[in-house]
Symmetry: C2
Subunit: 296 residues, 2 copies
Amino acid sequence: MSVSFQEWVKNCQHRLELFLEERLPVDKTVPERLHDAMRYAVLGGGKRIRPLLAFAAGELSGADSSRVKIVAAAVELIHAYSLVHDDLPCMDDDVLRRGKPTCHIQYDEATALLVGDSLQSLAFQLMAEFPLTDSPNNQLEMIKQLAQASGSRGMAGGQAIDLASVGKSITLPELELMHIHKTGALIRVAVMLGAHCGDQLSSHDLSRLDHFAKCIGLAFQVVDDILDSEATTATLGKTAGKDAQQNKPTYVSILGVKHARELAVSLQQDAYKALSEIKSTQRLLQVTDFIIQRHF
Amino acid sequence: MSVSFQEWVKNCQHRLELFLEERLPVDKTVPERLHDAMRYAVLGGGKRIRPLLAFAAGELSGADSSRVKIVAAAVELIHAYSLVHDDLPCMDDDVLRRGKPTCHIQYDEATALLVGDSLQSLAFQLMAEFPLTDSPNNQLEMIKQLAQASGSRGMAGGQAIDLASVGKSITLPELELMHIHKTGALIRVAVMLGAHCGDQLSSHDLSRLDHFAKCIGLAFQVVDDILDSEATTATLGKTAGKDAQQNKPTYVSILGVKHARELAVSLQQDAYKALSEIKSTQRLLQVTDFIIQRHF
């Protein structure tokens, strides 16, 4: 903990970017257009929230950060693929992401589809290619966890619940169920995989960490909804107000901004409480603040 | 080798089907529509060529068939996901597959997109969840191989090359490069993963097996092109003559039917020759005949 939080964030982001740069096939490799588009979709953008959580959770378990870097990259590739597919016309039909044209606008729909498919494969390739823990059996378990968090009972399932809810009146628990899948599952697995790269934690610590990760995953979404409802397209880097436009239920549409903010704070308190029962959590606390207080 | 080839095929297909049935989430699990569509896309159809190759290669290395079943299922899930995405309007835009409406016709495009994404995750989940060999390090290597065969340098990359070639005049080597990626990579990995479930093969045997798998992968595509040019939609179970309609280069369009048939036979001979240098290859020989002589 010798460096400031800001330096630490920059350092993590920089190391992740270099690694992704190196592992994504260069755009001179056949098929060139696909590889070019994969790099476009992944490199040079995003706050890398999930990787930061993985790095911070790795510090908690004394993990070698060069191992955590691999799981951070894998989780970020899954996240990046989901954004590319989510932006497609048959899904959210969005044209702007991270301040740039979305992948299917910059390239074409078919290429964007294959970009997402290929990024998912690459994520699992990285998880299997590099040693992540001292036990290959634990590494297999980590791959399984990432697959579960990504699939139909995790992130992709959350997208399906999201689609089914458009234009419908849903309850707060239903909205929560959607987000536990859609954004929560991947955030949660980022934390857990980061920790798994280091020393085995006690089952008490693992369970508190998992509770923390669940709270932070939901808090992240509540904050996202508030930002979407308040920010402008320019500050957000993606089309603002889309949720309301598409008649999507959000924490803001169900609770109103005031209560949504209260919920974010309460989830943050809950997350702090879970962490207070574990040692060496300072970086995780800082990342939590960073996530919750992004813009308010 | 006590049962006839036909019985063996039925037995493999049956065991695979039961396992997939069991591992695909039931359609009463949230999100119901997605799970229903996943089952629709995977169950009850197809000749299961790749699984048969995996089972046959497993016999060659003395593998426990209950382990081979897992890799067979994983490879088939990757294949099924690729068909669902390939049929989407932004790709081949097809309405018929295995004699049934394609996934996006039966459900909707967004669901079909998520079906493909989720099937890919499930494939890697299975590869990590069950023991496939006695060495977890070898199992990690197998997962890496499947990821490589699926991604931008394998199957998905082949789709991208395919897209780029529509309406263009390409050479035979270019067509071969496309198919080595598009269909060849997954067929090849099906063979190798099946073998890896058993005793470690000598590097000589592995290299001959790999050459066999490469030949059979190409032969499969040549036969597919011939079938597409000659068969009717009814016998094919998918829209016939699509390649010519979409102005796609095929072995038939480049070589003509006669020479395409000769190429299929020559690849088959080459595959036989590679196998003749390894022991216990009878099932693989039978599966080879089954693939090449599907309809002629």
